[in-house]
């Protein structure tokens, strides 16, 4: 019952966002359709821009998968992670996520292909991507721009938040599993 309610709310979120934005736009006298088309063009060119990146990363992950290395790695890591109930297949993703969003995407797509989008692993990976960020990338961009050299407790805090997000993902995936 609880589980169903949760998924039920999820079903409503995207449609609610759509109607809220369009209605708010109309109220504010925005030419909604013209603006929509303008934004859609931006979205279109964004995807075209990331296309080569995606080709590069999906090829790299594809090779890694086909070589059997990913399985080997998960198997080794699994000896440790099985104790705490974290799927070993998600360890490479958790680590890569800290460095690069696009490389993490490549791994998530591989997980979707191997285990299915709605499997426990697929759901955890989906939720994890929602609640974590590229820690090292963000830190280097922001601190370099501000010319900060000593970052004090930023990394610890960021990693703590990331771990909390991953733990929450594992728990929540169990709640919405079919």
């Amino acid at each position: 019952m609880n589980t169903n309610l949760f998924v039920y709310i999820s079903d409503f979120i995207v449609p609610s966002v759509i109607i809220l934005i369009v209605a708010y736009g109309v109220l504010e006298k925005v030419k909604v359709y013209d603006e929509f088309v303008k934004g859609a063009k931006k979205g279109f060119s964004t995807v075209i821009k990331i296309m080569p990146t995606l080709v590069g990363l999906m090829v790299a992950v594809g090779i890694l998968r086909a070589s059997g290395f990913l399985e080997f790695l998960s198997g080794q890591i699994g000896k440790v992670t099985d104790y705490i109930g974290f799927p070993s297949q998600l360890v490479p993703l958790s680590i890569v996520r800290l460095f690069s969003a696009s490389a993490a995407t490549g791994l998530v797509l591989d997980i979707f292909k191997e285990y299915g989008t709605d499997s426990r692993i697929g759901l955890i990976a989906s939720i994890m991507m929602c609640c974590t960020e590229t820690v090292f990338y963000t830190m280097s961009v922001y601190f370099m721009a501000a010319k900060v050299k000593k970052t004090r407790y930023t990394l610890t805090g960021a990693l703590l938040a990331t771990v909390a997000g991953i733990v929450a993902s594992v728990w929540l995936a169990g709640r919405i599993l079919l």
Binding site: I127, C130, K150, Y153, T154, S169
Partner: protein
């Protein structure tokens, strides 16, 4: 960073395949994956165009301004030591809202401006600005804890890979994001309460 990561994946992959006798599969994997990336982008073209179109309406309608009123008390709570009229407040608010809405292209410039303003604040306080202030640490941790409410990319990927209900994870994603952000905030509050440098 990505250069090493990418080269590493390919070199390890090919070498491991050679040693384990999977070398024939590597060629297929490379060809199939590149084709697949393009198929995926076709789905993404549709979803991203639609979503960015929607966000353009939101931006034009002034939703960022409307939302910043709600966020102001939160920013005050997280950054109590920034003077009320300091421009850092405004940049931080804009950055947080852009992140919540998933407008990465608007979030980064505002975020960089916020960092610059916080650096100036340190100079005004007479501190060395090459050492991150409490505000900078907090701002980055909150940023990294991920604020985005709806990750449309993940929904698109899920739909491309045959999910029966691609948006199934939206509610869970929001809860997980809130959890990670709260943990990040609590940690900052704990750290900031200590003796000031």
């Amino acid at each position: 960073m990505l250069n090493f990561l990418w080269a590493g994946m390919i070199i390890i992959g090919v070498m491991y395949a050679a040693f384990t006798g999977n070398i024939a599969e590597v060629t297929n994997a490379a060809l199939d994956s590149s084709k697949e990336a393009i198929t995926l982008c076709l789905t993404m073209l549709g979803v991203m165009s639609f979503w960015m179109g929607l966000m353009e309406i939101a931006t034009k309608a002034g939703i960022v301004g409307a939302l910043s009123r709600f966020l102001r008390p939160v920013v005050r709570f997280m950054f109590p030591n920034i003077p009320k009229r300091h421009k850092a407040n405004e940049h931080i608010t804009t950055n947080l809202i852009a992140n919540i809405l998933g407008l990465g292209w608007a979030a980064t410039p505002a975020g960089l401006q916020a960092m610059e303003a916080l650096g100036q604040l340190e100079e005004e306080r007479g501190n060395d600005r090459s050492i991150a202030s409490d505000e900078m640490c907090t701002f980055l941790i909150v940023n990294i804890s991920s604020l985005q409410l709806i990750n449309i990319n993940i929904i698109a990927y899920r739909s491309q890979y045959g999910s029966v209900n691609p948006t199934r994870i939206v509610g869970a994603g929001i809860v997980a994001t809130i959890v990670s952000t709260i943990v990040g905030c609590l940690y900052c509050k704990m750290k900031n309460r200590g003796v000031r440098r």
